[in-house]
């Protein structure tokens, strides 16, 4: 395990997080925003996995356990997002984030 440097892993997850963040901020389609949210969330989960693998004893197990819990949590969050987008699509007929303009003055 120690053959690979931790820095490389952290760089990978940071890149993944940046991709997700960029997607959340720029995508106009709600479904794509959801996917971007998942990508960013998975970056955090990956971080927990590496840091857990690289530390010793029970502290390392915390990271693995948290990763599993967060995978479940991310699924819950996306389910709620899909429910909202479904209701919005029924009422408005579009899931484009940019066309959400009822609240602007």
């Amino acid at each position: 395990m120690t053959a690979l440097p931790l820095v490389g892993f952290v760089a990978l997850s940071s890149a993944l997080f940046a991709v997700g963040l960029f997607g959340i901020l720029t995508r106009r389609n709600f479904i794509l925003v959801l996917i971007a949210i998942e990508i960013a969330m998975n970056a955090a989960i990956l971080n927990f996995v590496y840091f857990g693998a690289f530390s010793n004893g029970t502290a390392g197990l915390t990271g693995q356990a948290v990763a599993v819990v967060l995978i479940g949590f991310a699924a819950t969050e996306v389910a709620v997002g899909l429910a909202i987008v479904l209701a919005l699509n029924r009422v408005k007929g579009t899931i484009n984030v940019a066309q959400a303009n009822e609240l602007k003055l």
Partner: protein
């Protein structure tokens, strides 16, 4: 009766969960009347509130206490990493959240009974409150963030619960995107902190906070974590979503968002911030910019102080410019978060007392004003402030109640808002250093806020309405509306508003019991810690 042997220390939480399940069960059985589900929600919140007040040591209710003295404010043994810990400050916050949930549940029983989704509304309300209670006892970063997420996910759905209204669905969508963004930010921050400290436990982090290397990880970790939580607490520059969401959500839900769930973010900042600030010796570690071991405390303190001043000022200035009632109140709610942050930044025991008291006051004031707005909107009054012309003379009791809440928000003496601001700002002056400037900024902002509250009062009491523009308010009977209760507001909402108005004045004139309990809790908290 020994309750602790029956339900353990989690009695309030169990009550809320049972209430949620009961409401959804009744829904399945076809019992969806708003009076029934609302009564379950209000009853569960009120009962849980009684237990919490008893746990805080309120003598007349002592027979209800379910936490023994050995369970609250216990000093943690070195090396122990408990997942949760009961502190009396946490119990005070449980009381604050349960008050918000009780008031909103009570007032919402007056929502139109033909409206669909009452079980969803009340069930999610209790579930969100359950998440808030868990936040107050968390002592582990992951436990804390997951509890915050219980609140967030429930409130996304609360905003969208009508399922037909385009405005509230769009508000829910914005709320969801921003909320999910802030969630990923805080979890990413937590993962970096786990990498730096090797643990997610707040006690363990605090023990090593002054002697850990990895300055970049610590700095970025706290940066992401605080940014994510600042979204939830609507601190400037993370506030832009709040006004649209507060405006678009059903107004009773807005009352719960500003009264309850915003304070969850503030309390979470409280927990992650105070550990490294209070419990690290001032000389320990270096600045995160100089390498070596890190003491993140001073950097966090300055950052949050800047955020506090920004939040107060931007919120107040933008509130001045608003023409719509709900948006004006939403901006004023943002500025209120800035006041509370002052107390958190300073971190002394009087300052914590001030911040907690400010949140206690805010529950009544902010929940109250939005509950009034919801009722008045249901009477057919338009969204603009000018639409409220003459309402105070037409409906004297409602006008006086609303006026009292606004005066308290502005911090006029003999109201609760004055007491909380007085304690808060005097603690900032006491703390010396640059904190004095926080007090100055707070005072200037309070003076500024008087302008827009006074404008509403002027419109309500001194402007004559155009004859045809005046809403008759005769919704139900068709006759001239009576003073408060029957005239379209509904008895439940009128009761909630009256309770709030009385509380604002009563605690303002005689704050000693609350002040004593909160300052006692804050002192314990400083010693035991998050």
């Amino acid at each position: 009766m020994d309750l602790s042997s029956f339900a353990g220390p989690f009695l309030p939480e169990i009550l809320l969960l049972a209430g949620t399940l009961l409401i959804f069960l009744l829904d399945v059985l076809g019992i969806r009347r708003i009076e029934v589900t609302g009564a379950v929600a209000a009853g569960a919140s009120a009962l849980a509130l009684l237990f919490v007040v008893a746990d805080l040591g309120f003598a007349p209710l002592a027979f209800l206490a379910n936490l023994s003295a050995g369970q609250v404010d216990v000093a943690i043994a070195p090396g122990a990493t408990p997942l949760y810990a009961f502190t009396s400050l946490g119990l005070v916050f449980q009381g604050i959240f349960l008050t918000a949930s009780f008031l909103v549940a009570l007032a919402s029983m007056s929502r139109p009974s033909n409206e669909r989704g009452a079980p969803i509304f009340f069930g999610l309300l209790l579930l969100a409150t359950l998440g808030m209670l868990l936040v107050t006892i968390a002592s582990d970063l992951i436990f804390l963030l997951l509890s915050v997420e219980i609140v967030s996910i429930s409130t996304y759905l609360l905003v969208a619960y009508t399922r037909k209204d385009v405005r509230s669905l769009e508000a829910a969508m914005k709320f969801y995107i921003i909320g999910a963004l802030s969630t990923t930010l805080s979890f990413f921050g937590a993962s970096l902190l786990y990498g730096a400290y090797g643990t997610t436990n707040l006690f363990a982090i605090r023990a090593v906070a002054g002697s850990v290397g990895y300055p970049v990880l610590v700095l970025l970790g706290y940066g992401f974590l605080i940014a994510g939580l600042a979204f939830k607490a609507t601190l400037v520059p993370f506030h832009a979503w709040a006004v649209d969401v507060y405006d678009g959500a059903p107004t009773d839900v807005t009352a719960f968002l500003t009264g309850g769930s915003k304070k969850v973010g503030l309390f979470a900042i409280f927990l992650v911030f105070l550990g490294p600030v209070l419990f690290v010796a001032p000389g320990a570690g270096g600045s995160p910019f100089s390498g070596g071991t890190v003491n993140i405390g001073p950097v966090l303190q300055v950052t949050l102080a800047i955020l506090a001043v920004l939040t107060m000022t931007v919120g107040n200035v933008l509130a001045l410019l608003q023409k719509e009632m709900k948006r004006m109140l939403a901006y004023s709610s943002i500025s209120q978060a800035g006041y509370m942050l002052i107390g958190i930044v300073i971190g002394t025991s009087p300052a914590l007392t001030g911040a907690t008291l400010q949140m206690f006051a805010n529950v009544f004031m902010k929940t109250g004003v939005f509950l009034v707005v919801a009722g008045v909107t249901a009477l057919g009054v338009g969204p603009l402030i000018d639409d409220w012309k003459g309402l105070g003379t037409r409906r004297p009791l409602l006008g006086v109640a609303f006026g009292l809440m606004l005066l308290s928000l502005a911090g006029v003496p003999l109201t609760l808002g004055f007491v909380s601001k007085f304690v808060l700002f005097s603690s900032a002056v006491e703390a010396q250093g640059y904190f004095v400037w926080l007090a100055v900024a707070g005072l200037l902002n309070s003076a500024l806020s008087v302008f827009y509250y006074a404008r509403v009062l002027k419109v309500m009491f001194f402007d004559r309405p155009e004859p045809d523009a005046l809403p008759t308010g005769a919704v139900a009977g068709g006759s001239e509306p009576s003073l408060l209760a029957a005239g379209g507001l509904g008895y439940a909402r009128a009761t909630a508003i009256a309770l709030i108005a009385v509380a604002v004045v009563a605690f303002g004139v005689y704050p000693q019991p609350v002040l004593g309990a909160i300052s006692n809790a804050a002192q314990h908290f400083i010693h035991v810690g998050p």
